[in-house]
């Protein structure tokens, strides 16, 4: 099961409070229902998502922004679309306590913010979610990969890069060219020499 917090529907229950005037950047971000801190992410197409602050911290990019005091109002993420951001936010929620990034969070431990965030091994349920998460077509996977790269989120990167590697694995040279619309820019001589050099890869 997921970690010992408010459960799978928590992100829906969280309510954004209006930002009080004159908040200093060092003050903790908004508090949601149940005292959890919430930030709002805004996609390029103006869709807003409420995210548990601690879930958002899985992204180094968001963490830096939050630590710089940008977490008070909606955080614009113009290069992510609503559907992509929705998927990403869901993955962050499911990856709560995932050791792929939780170890790193312990280092930034401040004011006991992460005290109920003990790292734990991904459960079978999380692994199942991850598999489902990347069961998308090639272009959608590219979108998720680029989101992972922009957000610098290790868990998201892991899941998406694994999926991309799985897609390429065991493909022949011709299949790779076909699948990605790659132009073979070798001369016939170069290609023949390379194939000979890499004989071991064709056995």
């Amino acid at each position: 099961m997921s970690s010992g917090d408010s459960g799978p529907s928590s992100s829906k229950q969280l309510v954004q409070q209006p930002a009080a005037a004159g908040r200093s950047p060092n003050q903790p971000p908004l508090l949601g229902a149940g005292g959890r801190k919430v930030i709002v992410l805004k996609s390029g197409d103006e869709e807003e998502f409420e995210v548990d602050l601690l879930d958002a911290m899985q992204s180094r990019t968001l963490r830096r922004a939050i630590e710089d005091g940008c977490g008070d109002g909606p955080m614009p993420l113009p290069n992510l679309t609503g559907p992509v951001l929705a998927k990403v936010v869901e993955l962050f929620r499911r990856h709560r306590g995932d050791p792929r990034w939780a170890d790193e969070l312990q280092e930034t431990e401040k004011e006991g913010m992460f005290k109920d965030y003990a790292p734990q091994k991904p459960t079978a349920e999380v692994k199942g979610f991850d598999r489902e998460f990347v069961s998308v077509d090639r272009d959608a996977l590219f979108d998720l990969l680029r989101a992972a790269n922009f957000l610098e989120a290790p868990g998201l990167l892991d899941v998406t890069c694994d999926a991309a590697a799985d897609a390429v694995m065991n493909m022949t040279v011709e299949e790779v060219r076909e699948y990605f619309g790659l132009v073979n820019d070798y001369t016939p001589e170069e290609e023949a020499a390379l194939r000979k050099q890499h004989e071991w890869a064709f056995q």
């Binding site: 990969l145 890069c161 991309a164 990605f180 619309g181 820019d185 050099q197």
Partner: protein
């Protein structure tokens, strides 16, 4: 005609065509994906196009691939060769002088930064520029009178007579412990061991950003032998 075409190919940016739709992914992502493949997959990808060849021949990539396998490790001057040798993929590694291909029209800040970190010299960070006073054999009175709290001084030649100066040289250690296997550190959950002589050869040839270290788990048991 062919020459003209060749010239044209050299001038343009070859990334978009040689990567196809993969051009949409930045180089660090492409590297992270290739990192997850098996040596055979990487070998085939290298035959796909020029930019793939470049990405698939990166030494940091082959270091990761190599360290994924448990067992003894003998460094063959490059991580690619080492991996192929370890995996018995290429039988005549030492004989094949595989000439690496080079391609114009491809620039990658990501690959360059990584390359720079591997090859940059740390010589400029050396603290002693020779402008510090050196003293051999200094008395307490002289130190108090001339240096203490006034200016820095380097005390030299204090260890000249230590036996370790002669017995703990690399040559001596290789002679005595060359065949001893050590556990290597780093990056791998697998148990990888390296003979001391192979580690010394690795030390002198490697250009890794995050080089391997050796550890001796039984150091305290063997300590006596080293000191004698």
């Amino acid at each position: 005609m062919e020459n003209q075409q060749e010239e044209y190919q050299q001038r343009r940016d070859r990334r978009p065509e040689a990567l196809g739709d993969l051009r949409l992914l930045p180089d660090e992502l492409l590297c992270a994906i290739i990192d997850r493949l098996a040596p055979g997959d990487v070998g085939r990808l290298a035959c796909v196009s020029s930019v793939m060849y470049i990405l698939c021949n990166e030494e940091p990539l082959w270091m990761n691939l190599c360290l994924r396998f448990a067992g003894p490790l003998e460094y063959k001057n490059s991580w690619k060769k080492t991996t192929l040798y370890r995996q018995s993929l290429s039988t005549a590694v030492s004989e094949t002088h595989e000439k690496p291909l080079t391609f114009d029209g491809f620039n990658s800040l990501y690959l360059y930064r990584r390359w720079y970190r591997r090859f940059t010299t740390l010589d400029a960070f050396f603290m002693d520029k020779g402008d510090l006073e050196r003293k051999q054999d200094i008395s307490l009175e002289e130190f108090c009178a001339n240096y203490d709290g006034q200016k820095p001084v380097l005390l030299t030649d204090l260890a000249n007579t230590w036996p370790a100066r002669h017995s703990w040289t690399i040559d001596q250690l290789v002679k005595k412990y060359g065949e001893t296997a050590f556990r290597i550190s780093q990056k791998s959950s697998k148990k990888i061991s390296m003979k001391f002589k192979d580690y010394v050869s690795y030390m002198s040839h490697q250009h890794d950003e995050d080089p391997l270290y050796v550890f001796d788990d039984k150091w305290s048991e063997e300590m006596e032998v080293i000191f004698i």
